[in-house]
Amino acid sequence: MAAEDLYPSAAGRPARGIARKAAAGAVLAGYSWLAGGLAPFTTRSLLSVLLPGAVLGAIAYGRPPERIPAPATMDVAGFSYWLIAVAALFEWEASAFISGSHWWHPSLTELITPLIAPHPVRSAAICVWLLGGWALVRR
């Protein structure tokens, strides 16, 4: 017996779900492409970051999606590995930043910025950033 025989209203759900995901993917790709083409240090590029921030902030606090449950406890020893690695990364970045971020001692920003300069790469990076934001909202 088919699912639509048991639950007539569920017949269109899978198709609707796929259509919604396809639409969301198209919007995400289109927005990433448009935002990736904006010149840095402009009001438009600033707005292209603030707009998804405002939208995701509103969703996170106003109408949050079904969230992945957070662990009730955290293993301190296990978490400390992350803490040490992240602190070391910040320290490494700070040492380069404080020394002026010269060619001979570049900061991570100085290294990444030229890599994401081409439009397609920049758009892909923005897409990953947006997906990361959505993943945070779901947590």
């Binding site: 935002a35 840095p40 998804p52 957070a70 955290m74 490494w92 990444i112 990076a125 947590r139």
Partner: protein
């Protein structure tokens, strides 16, 4: 070896460590949490959620708006 290469090696090494921690965290029975788990733990309270989301927004501003 120039200081530039040492600096770049340091960044690459630290990023590799972060990736390795994520891989280890996904193995069953491991004490190391995944990034999603510890971020989720930090976001249990509204203040933690706000800080994490602001960090995400700062990343976007830092790399894409300036």
């Amino acid at each position: 070896m120039t200081t530039r290469i040492i600096t770049m090696t340091g960044f690459a090494g630290l990023l590799a460590v972060l990736a390795a921690l994520e891989v280890l965290g996904r193995r069953p029975g491991n004490r190391i949490p995944t990034a999603g788990q510890w971020l989720g733990y930090l976001m249990r309270r509204p203040a933690g959620r706000l800080l994490v989301l602001l960090g995400w927004l700062w990343l976007g501003w830092h790399y894409f708006a300036r």
